[in-house]
Structures are given as structure tokens and as C-alpha cells.
Symmetry: C2
Amino acid sequence: MEKNGISRAVIKRLPRYYRYLGELLESGTERISSGELSQRMNVTASQIRQDLNNFGGFGQQGYGYNVEYLYNEIAKLLGVDKQHNMIIIGSGNLGQALANYTNFQKSGFVVTGLFDNNEKLYGKKVRGIEVLPMERLEKFISANHIEIAALTVPKSEAVKTAQMLVKYGIKAIWNFAHTDLDLPKEIVVENVHLSESLMRLSYNLIRTEDCGSV
Amino acid sequence: MEKNGISRAVIKRLPRYYRYLGELLESGTERISSGELSQRMNVTASQIRQDLNNFGGFGQQGYGYNVEYLYNEIAKLLGVDKQHNMIIIGSGNLGQALANYTNFQKSGFVVTGLFDNNEKLYGKKVRGIEVLPMERLEKFISANHIEIAALTVPKSEAVKTAQMLVKYGIKAIWNFAHTDLDLPKEIVVENVHLSESLMRLSYNLIRTEDCGSV
């Protein structure tokens, strides 16, 4: 259990609850029963009730849950009720793809800077944001109070770039390089290891095929 | 437990074992003790011994594990000992970024086709692979025996594109669209929900900051 009494398993489901509730809000749904949410989430209704109790979602028998209330409570828990400025280090295809994702901005993550050490990219604009040379990183971070950096540099440069980011004041790194960053404990690292995801896919694929041939 | 007796938790660690063992192989390490592997993996040595026993990795007291043997066994389990041809549907920044990742190819995932419905992209080449119009998808899949498709189209087109892929014979979808695909059970879907990853980062970041201010 975490210090606020919410288990890791629930926390893992929070972004999904947030997504579903957001879709319900957009479609104008004001209330939802645990049964309906259960069908969408592919989780049992009793699990849903247990989960939502954790963050003040007390459904009323016959009335269900207030969608907007739950949505806002989960937003606060996730820290997406406020704006987070984010920079992207490595402005190749992946960095540019992230900068182009308007969805992140809807959840409060606003890309305010793009950096690269390839001078051919300097001045290139993605959604109005100019790619800047790495030399301007330190000042940019402190002037704009940036806490989050997405790291989309090649694996070979990831560790030293991450250390530099921490030295300049970055508190959380969204790491796309397939390597361990080995940073101080207080730095938040969220890894997106695409190769590992692809291996899980392949693991499941060969087992599905085994079943098919039996 | 899965039918072959390996638990889900172990399976989740397999890609990481594979990565570490691969790095050890590259650096010329022939044998490794559970203690050394434990330090790298951030898992207890006894957990490592338990895990590796699952796939025939019986270390010898004082000699440790044979790195190459374990690496090959895990490769077989993950299905990365063979080549998998993969196509990418949606050839924007993200699709191009995936096509450019040489790392996937090292694990046997070879991008052989890129597709898009934006005619401005037709003919554009990424690592020698030409972007083709969606009209050529069906023939391409059957002619090249493609089983895996990465889905990097906008959220609004994801569901119908996925259904089309399944109709054309695709067995596994690597889904980057932030939505549920709702496909037949036998289709493997591996989701990469970047927004959810970013929310976990933010969840952890605000808690780290809380601690700092206490």
C-alpha cells in the first residue's frame, strides 16, 4: 500500500478510469453504474466499487456514480488537473511525433521546448515550437521552470543526457531509450520500452498459434 | 499460472532478462552469478534463481549461469529466435519513428511495409521502405504472410482500421491509438498507451514533491 492508502494495482488502473470517464463526459453522460463501467473496463463491478471507494466515489444505489465528480477527483490524484510544461530531448521522428500529439496537451502536458544536437534540425518548427540546440537547454529549463523531460535520444547518449537533465533541475524523465538511466532515487523515471512491448506481443502470438494448431 | 507453468510475473520480466543477457553477451561475458544479475536487474538473487529455473537455467554453485544458453532459451520463449515480418499502418511521425528503429530488427521484427491513406506520403521511403496506399494492404498481407501490424493511425480511425487488418489476416496488433480495439479474442493486442504512461509519471512526480516539502 502507498502512504495514502491506495494500492499499486488501483493506481495502475487510474489512467484507464480517467480515460473512460473522460469519454463518458464528452458524450454527455452524467451518471454511470458500476455495472456499466465494469463492462467498459473489463473489470468486475465489485472491483470497480472497491476501486472507486478509494477516491471518494461513493455511488448511490440505483443512481450510480457522478461522472464529472469522479473524473475530477481522479485528475487531482494523477496530477493532471494542472499544467505541466514538458521538454523533449531528441527531435528526430519520435520526438516530433510526441510533440505532435495533441492528446497530451488535453491532459495538461504542454510541450514547450524541443532540443537536439543535430544542427540540421535547428530552427525546424513542430506545432510552432522551434528545435533548439542543446547549449540552450540549461537556461531554458530554469527560465521556464521545466520539471518533465521526454528523452528520445539514441540509447548510446541516453545515460549522459539524463544525468545532464537532472543536473539542470529536471525532476521526472519519460525515457524512451532502451536502457537503465541509473539516476538518484528522487528522480521519477517512467520507461517506455517499446522493444519489450513488442516481445510481449510476440510471446502471446506464438502461444495463440500453438493453441490454434492443437 | 500459464499452461507451460510460467507465471505472468516471470513472463513480464522475460524481456528484461533478455536485454541484460544480450548486453552481457555483447560485452563477452560467458557466465554470470545470480548475485551479479540480481544487482543489474534490481531483483533479489533468490528471485533470479527461481525465475531462471523456470526456463532451464540451472546455475552451478560457484560457476553461475551460462549467459549464451539462457539468452537463447529466453529468445525461444519470447519467439524472437525467428524473423517476424511487420507492417506499419499510419506513416506519420510515429510510424516513421518505428520504421527507423533498428533495434526491433535485432530482435527479429522486420518492418517490410508502410501504409497510409495520405497520398502526400505515397512513395516516401523510410529505410528503403516505400509508403503504400491502403488499397494495397490486403494483397500485401497475404502475399508476404504478415502476421503483425503496428497501428499508428489517429484514434478516430483505429477501430475500423484494426477490424480491416483482422479481416485481411493479421494475427497481432501493436496498438498505439489510445482506444480499445474490441477485436475477437484470438487476436493478440499489445497496447502502448503513451498518455497513460505520462499520467503515471505525473502521479509519481507530485508524490515525490509532496515528500520533499514535508
